[in-house]
Symmetry: C2
Subunit: 562 residues, 2 copies
């Protein structure tokens, strides 16, 4: 490809408001352009990288025994209604009705679609296990796009779905996909860590994310060094560092005024107590109408994902001020767990454990209790739970060691689904050896290609531009001619004849310096220069290295073919 | 791939109401399943064919100098409003609004999107010409789907767009794409004819369709043997065979009763005159409010595409019965062109020419005139036009020879767009050599992949199943083992090692006859059989031929590698 003919040239300017390096560099280097927020054009250079990534993923998925197919992206709405996912909010589902009044969802993931095609076949235990996958457009009506490709509203996802006779059989495939993902990211030269995560709107009991550590990430990851274990913040089990009250003696409980104080820190200041002895009590209602009072140490927030699992709820909503008044007798802001009606289920976080003389809302408008103690003022629960949002400084409960904390980008995920879908959808069954109909056991596996592409740029660039790994680079070689010369044209032709993918910068109205700057910005792994000075030889420079060398063309070919 | 592991097995049944061979065979052979009407799953076998077709198209487009990129499929509605195409009805545009109230169109074609990305760059004459293309999902809310892949509501299209400094430069690319399409279809072993066609909702002045002749087609094609020219019915110039009135003498015009007679044939019978002397007069209103009275020989229908061009209208609507009454003084059904108000523009089709003693509505309810003659009863127009729907039996005006008529499937098209878009959209310009801004001259080029796939099946099958051309077959070889045997496993492994794509039918609970039937149904070009009888050799049979032969494995490899 001659650079002068390439559609999508480099620019000095960065997009307005761009904050992410990948966004700036992919824009400047001519890989992407925004259509509307979260929807991007992939220009020829960008698409070439995307396609090479797709090829790597396909090769490894095929090698793992999975089979590629494809579903429509307009999913019939009734399918999503079968699993109740039409009401899931996390995806920001886009719905559309055609002129014959058929309603569709623009696919966010395709569990229902794949099950719908599988149930068109009468499958038996002999057909299991199998794993089918696709590269297809996914739509997420995200409230917020980030700029660049890290969080898109429309993107190609590799999504795979596996079907099994049993959990044991599934576990083998889960490991198989885990290993496959590792190979995929290794081939892309991406260091990934495998992080235990929540299943979210996908459903199922457990899941793992492949995360790349970078400050550009939106996920917070907690690491246990002694166990080499990673948790996504949303499910990291946590123990609050204990608050030292050595030497303190239990005091009698006392009701004090604290009118209009907002926030635990303000309350602690006002009452002249450490924030660690304040208490937050939050009242929720489950989808079944049960009221939950959840209490935890004041400086923590509630992790609703954890709390839902503990109380076995599908959803939790904060109860209304009217209902708070009815249950506690007080306005919002003064709830505590002493003297709540018996109908309220009380759960306490383990950050409550071991404290003495703590504060708590008095269930009386404008009033707080201080010097509250288990045993004397309220019963110590049989069991404390962990439903706090994990934060830096927290301990891993099992070993008591302090977590290390990173930011990461989730580039892929694998989910156990179990019977989550097959028990909800009709005919999601196979015939077992005894001729009985049984639901199948499932897993699913996703990789977002554009986000992974941007992540590669986040972790592989310098101040001059992108540094593409060879395996996904848009071209193998960036060939520069200094002063238009026949020798450069000849090298271009010879490289093409040898099957080398070359971007040939033959512009005659651009300085060598500008060409080198473009080469660095675009980030193709090898830069070759042919100039009057190089004679019959060629200058070779790796993008990631500083020095260049003059070598023979034969040596160039040898290195490129290695 | 082992057949027992393949997702998507063969079936004896055909889909309910399937009438097209491609629909039946692709379903039975396990290539496709319907999601909802017009939206299909491509199962692993189907997707493999689709991908091989995509590779052929990509290779030829790249060879022709075009560059692949990709646009989002949700197109911002304001872009379609710039060109007024949001109101085009032909596509059945689907529109959607996200939760931030941004409106989008689900892309039908991508002219506006491509121009929108091009105008983000300041391009000059030096950047021109270029041709960018994509493989992307297209959505058409068709009122009617046909079953199978011939007319889909969601499908992958290769759509390309070229940009030029001038019409002359464009013409070279038009020819380049014409030749490229020929190469693409040749590689797919599809015989195509190139048919002059209407630009329809795409816009522009001329276009050609690549059509495959088959009775499964929905298009009617008119062929001029002496000129080797093909026209789509919608734009075929036509001349009605003249009606022989030799010996007849002009008669005086006479008004006759003809109450409640519906249709020209009924009228002809009722009046005891040949249908060829009846006249249809239809009144339309243009988008500018001009009223057109179009008259033609009774047995013809009006081709609105032709008529629009003749009168220079964007749209034509039949005028209301009230307006007919106002203009003609009569109820609907009795309009003629004698004594119409001067404000009505009269156009006559050349089928009117040369007739004497013809019939025409009398502009009086329940009445017709017979024995109407030019000169005496109405003025003969200076010019007759051709705005009739071409039909079998018609003549090519230039040579007067009778058309040959076929049915065809349009598998691709190329369009001159000229300035159609660049004059409507802001900043659709380039900087010319003198530094002036100028609109660019455009063309566009489309291929629907799934329809082409189905067309291959329509023209390449027999009563036993599909016969895939080698270039797009899902596998090169269908290997059958007769009675499970190690030798077959070995041949499977050796073929794989040699890089041959093999579908291995190793099922041990299926008869040889059933395996052969599946091989024929699926239609892979070469069937190999390894049985106790073949010993160290292998039975080779081409799908398209009747006889098999026993050859050595070395010979198998030699033939496959040829």
């Amino acid at each position: 490809m001659k650079y002068s003919k390439l559609f999508g040239k480099t620019l000095k300017e960065t997009p307005k408001d761009a904050s992410l390096d990948s966004h700036k560099l992919l824009y400047q280097a001519g890989f992407i352009r925004e259509s509307t927020a979260g929807r991007y054009y992939l220009l020829p250079l960008g698409l070439r990288v995307h396609q090479r990534m797709q090829t790597i993923i396909k090769e490894e998925m095929d090698r793992a025994g999975a089979q590629e197919m494809i579903t429509p992206v307009l999913h019939p709405l009734p399918l999503w209604q079968e699993t109740n996912r039409d009401k899931a909010t996390g995806f920001g589902l886009l719905k559309i009705t055609d002129r014959r009044d058929n309603a569709f969802v623009l696919g966010g993931t395709a569990e229902e679609m794949i099950i719908d095609v599988v149930r068109k076949f009468q499958i038996s235990y002999k057909d299991l296990p199998f794993n089918v996958y696709q590269f297809s457009l996914k739509f997420r009506d995200e409230l917020r796009a980030r700029g660049g490709l890290l969080r898109l509203r429309e993107f190609v996802m590799k999504d795979g779905y596996s079907f099994h006779v049993s959990e044991d059989d599934f576990k083998k495939e889960y490991q198989n996909m885990w290993d496959t993902y590792k190979r995929i990211y290794d081939r892309m030269e991406l260091d990934t860590i495998v992080v235990a995560a929540d299943n979210g709107d996908i459903g199922g009991d457990y899941a793992h994310e492949f995360q790349v550590i970078t400050d550009a990430g939106e996920d917070t990851i907690f690491y246990v060094p002694s166990k080499d274990l990673y948790f996504n913040k949303e499910i990291a089990p946590t123990q609050a560092p204990s608050f030292d009250q050595t030497g303190e003696k239990k005091q009698p409980m006392q009701e004090v005024l604290g009118k209009g104080i907002i926030g635990v820190q303000a309350l602690a200041d006002y009452l002249h107590i450490p924030v660690e002895v304040t208490t937050k009590t939050i009242l929720f209602e489950t989808e079944k109408g049960e009221v939950i009072a959840a209490a935890l140490r004041g400086e923590y927030d509630i992790d609703e994902t954890k709390l839902k699992r503990i109380v076995g709820a599908q959803s939790l909503t904060l109860i209304t001020p009217e209902k708070i008044k009815e249950l506690t007798g007080a306005e919002v802001g003064y709830a505590g767990i002493i003297n709540l009606p018996k109908s309220v289920r009380i759960v306490m976080d383990d950050s409550m454990k071991g404290r003495i003389n703590f504060e708590m809302g008095a269930n009386k408008t404008d009033h707080h209790n201080i010097n509250v103690n288990f045993g004397t003022d309220l019963e110590e629960p049989e069991k404390f739970y962990d439903f706090k949002e994990t934060k830096a400084g927290d301990l891993y409960p099992e070993t008591g060691e302090k977590y290390e904390v990173f930011k990461g980008v989730e580039v892929g995920n694998i989910f156990q689904l179990g019977y989550h879908y097959s028990k909800k959808m009709e005919d999601a069954i196979f015939i077992d050896e005894s001729g009985q109909e049984k639901p199948y056991y499932m897993g699913c596996y996703g990789i977002g290609l554009a986000r992974t592409l941007a992540t590669i740029v986040e972790v592989s660039h310098d101040e001059r531009g992108i540094i593409w790994p060879e395996s996904v680079a848009p071209y193998q070689v960036y060939l520069v001619s200094i002063r238009a010369n026949d020798r450069a044209d000849e090298v271009y032709k010879q490289l093409q004849d040898a099957g080398v993918a070359v971007l040939y910068d033959e512009r005659d109205d651009v300085s060598p310096g500008a060409k080198f700057a473009d080469a660095d910005l675009i980030g193709i792994p090898v830069r070759l220069v042919v100039s009057p000075k190089t004679g019959e030889q060629v200058e070779w420079k790796n993008r990631a290295e500083k020095d260049s060398e003059i070598i023979t063309f034969a040596e160039v070919l040898k290195r490129l073919k290695k």
